[in-house]
């Protein structure tokens, strides 16, 4: 595992450099928007990475809540399986799907949800799953911040305004606020119930993720329609650059999460040792 980190770091650096070159130089210029459209090569992958991290936070929080109770744990397992099965079958039966959504995209999402749920269950214990929740929320907020900064920088020259209170933009801001409040709760609340309260907040906060994602289908918004998996079309060269940058951002987020996770575990061990030392000092001699 120690060797994997520098290897992943080198691969990530190479991917980020290649992605940057592709985004700024190699990708064709958009006929309508000009060069400013190139912001989407960082904006869209950042949004996907933020959604993925918030989803991981949601799964980790659910597992933190249900694992101590065997019945709830078994029920959650069956719900995860049911979500995968439903999303793999229903989109192919009921067609056409709203907003031009593609059945294969929904089926892939369903399989990913079930797969990630059981992968986290296998890789993380009851104690470490809470650390995973903290880490994914923190790194997710970083990527959501990038989305909220790059979006207005694209909107100003294209729409003529920095911000509009439409459904996609507002729900993204609310999502960011929810996870910032989650992090504040984790930082400033010191009671033993903090992880439990934070997990409950994360479960409700995660409900905003599908609202953000599907808002452009179900509400009238100024935000552009999706070009991947949502019935839109994109130049294959642009898609290639987008996917390279997505991979680069995923690797970078993975590296950062890995480092942050090690820090979190180490921090907990230090706190436990300090608490033990304080107890031993107080013991009458």
């Amino acid at each position: 595992m120690k060797r994997a980190f520098p290897i992943l770091a080198i691969v990530t650096a190479a991917l980020l450099s290649y992605g940057l070159y592709q985004a700024l130089v190699a990708a064709p210029t958009d006929r309508m928007q000009g060069d400013v459209y190139r912001i989407i090569y960082y904006h869209v992958p950042s949004a996907w990475v933020a959604f993925l991290l918030f989803f991981l936070n949601f799964v980790a929080s659910i597992q933190y809540l249900v694992r101590p109770k065997p019945v709830a744990d078994r029920l959650a397992n069956w719900v995860a399986i049911a979500i995968g099965v439903v999303l793999c079958v229903v989109p192919f039966v009921y067609r056409p799907l709203p907003g031009g959504m593609e059945p294969s995209a929904l089926a892939t999402t369903g399989l990913a949800i079930t797969g990630i749920y059981f992968l986290i269950k296998k890789l993380f214990s009851e104690l470490t799953v809470d650390a995973l929740a903290v880490v994914t929320a923190e790194v997710g907020v970083v990527y959501c911040t990038i989305v909220l900064v790059t979006g207005p920088l694209w909107a100003r020259p294209v729409w003529g305004i920095w911000w509009t209170w439409d459904m996609r933009l507002t729900s993204t801001l609310v999502l960011w606020l929810i996870y910032v409040s989650y992090l504040l709760l984790r930082k400033f609340s010191t009671g033993s119930q903090t992880p439990l309260l934070a997990a409950a907040l994360a479960v409700f906060g995660a409900l905003d993720v599908p609202l953000v994602y599907f808002s452009i289908w179900f509400f009238r918004t100024q935000h552009p329609q999706p070009v991947i998996g949502g019935g839109g079309s994109i130049d294959p060269r642009m898609l290639h650059v987008m996917l390279i940058n997505l991979l680069a951002f995923l690797c970078f987020a993975g590296l950062v999460c890995w480092s942050r996770y090690r820090l979190e575990i180490l921090q907990r061990e230090v706190e436990e040792t300090q608490a033990l030392e304080a107890l031993l000092d107080r013991r009458p001699r």
Binding site: V139, R156, R260
Partner: protein, 38 residues
């Protein structure tokens, strides 16, 4: 082009600030571990 460069610069600055923050937290924790060792 100004908006494009501003957006790319912002992305890298946000990444950099977070990584620097992580490194500082590591350094602080290492000091705490050294103190416990004493």
């Amino acid at each position: 082009m100004t908006f494009l460069y501003a957006a790319y610069a912002a992305v890298w600055i946000i990444h950099l600030v977070y990584v620097v923050n992580l490194v500082r937290r590591y350094t602080r924790l290492r000091k705490e571990i050294e103190e416990i060792g004493k």
